[in-house]
């Protein structure tokens, strides 16, 4: 099955780390990206850089900031191939944010429609 592992972080969590810790955590993210189960993913720029777009009555409304005003911010994601939820959980538990006050939301990916 394909899962998205959505990485949520406390704002300021990265800034609280020493340079050495930040580098070590960065390396861990890159190592994870290289695992055979991981098929995709990206790190996102901070929430302050976010722009939210809505279309209402044909008008495009652009506002500053992220869509959801939550305490934790979406910092990135991995797409992974895993046998089941337990296997996906094992991968999610390896993501540094999970043990640094953040959390990982595991969402099954809707399988692509079979070819006609």
């Amino acid at each position: 099955m394909q899962y998205a592992l959505l990485i949520y972080r406390q704002p300021g969590a990265a800034e609280a780390l020493s340079d050495q810790e930040r580098e070590a955590s960065h390396r861990e993210y890159l190592e994870l990206r290289k695992r055979p189960e991981v098929t995709g993913g990206a790190a996102l720029q901070p929430a302050e850089t976010a722009t939210t777009v809505r279309v209402q009555d044909g008008r495009t409304l652009v506002t500053d900031g992220p869509f959801a005003d939550t305490k934790e911010i979406l910092a990135g994601f991995y797409l992974v191939e895993a046998a089941d939820l337990d296997a996906a959980t094992e991968l999610a538990a390896r993501i540094p944010a999970a043990r640094m006050g953040g959390s990982i939301e595991i969402r099954p990916v809707v399988p692509p429609d079979p070819a006609p």
Binding site: Y3, A83, L85, D86
Partner: protein
Amino acid sequence: MPDNPGAWLVTTARHRAIDRLRRDRVLAAKLPLLASGPVAEPPMGETVDETPIPDERLELVFMCCHPALAVEAQVALTLRAVAGLATEEIARAFLVPAETMKRRLTRAKSKIKVAGIPFGIPAAARLPERLGAVLAVVYLIFNQGYSNPALEPGLAAEAISLGRVLAALLPAEPEVLGLLALMLLHDARREARFDGQDLVLLPDQDRSRWDWRQIAGARDLLDRALLDPARRQGPSARGPYALQAAIASLQTEERLDWPQIAALYSELADLTGSAVVRLNGTVAITEAEGPAAALAIVDDLDLPGYQYWHSTRAELLRRLGRPAEARAAYQAALDLAHSLPERRYLERRITETS
């Protein structure tokens, strides 16, 4: 319930060797059965190409009690799929409309399928926490039946059956044996717990109405959980269910060893970090050291939303000759009480305390 639990043991070992692909096929065949009938029945149709093995309950239990499901969904699924209760029966037992229970089961089944919750026994590293979730569900079912016997007489028995299945399948897990012993010990006193509609507390129960054969059986289980030197690997081997069973076992003695009971409660409270456990231990402290010592601990705990905190305070205040405060505390407990026998007991107490 299958008649021969021993047969499951043999087939469990056999089943563990079966490859993942086949399990997935079995799961695919079983999911529709969650809605239509007990899973113990052999799956119908062409989806399973081998003779079904009747011991898949353990895999099924771990799937139903997966922590990715809400606890109420775990309970409902376990009763539906493992114990084979009808959706309407489960709804009645948990005081929710049948339609609500049906939706709860449908949502849970859908999450199992879409999120890929596995049908299988967890990896060894995850087994202790996953087993903890299973035992919690079984004990929750037991307590629901035990505290509302008029509502759903079969629920405590269902939980004990589930406990026996787990004990047969995982005979080396002390906490599995501990939970079964605990449920058997409580259940052995069920005939003496009520006088008509009224709740009878442990010290006032007619001991001749206790099921002494069941108590003896429970003690054997407890010995296996606690005393077998091969299993005793230091203090951590005494898990919360085995400790609770040890307390329940001591409470069936003719002369109660209150200091020992108080010490076990204290160990249990340290282990679980639970204020409720600390509260329950104050009954033993009352007997061992007197009501004043117990009240000091109860007042320290401060659990204003918890019925039994108020009723314990009330009892201690009454014994300390402070009837006005006792009545107020009984009233606070009554305001929080749901079960009819408990309400009747508290109402009686308020009238008696003057």
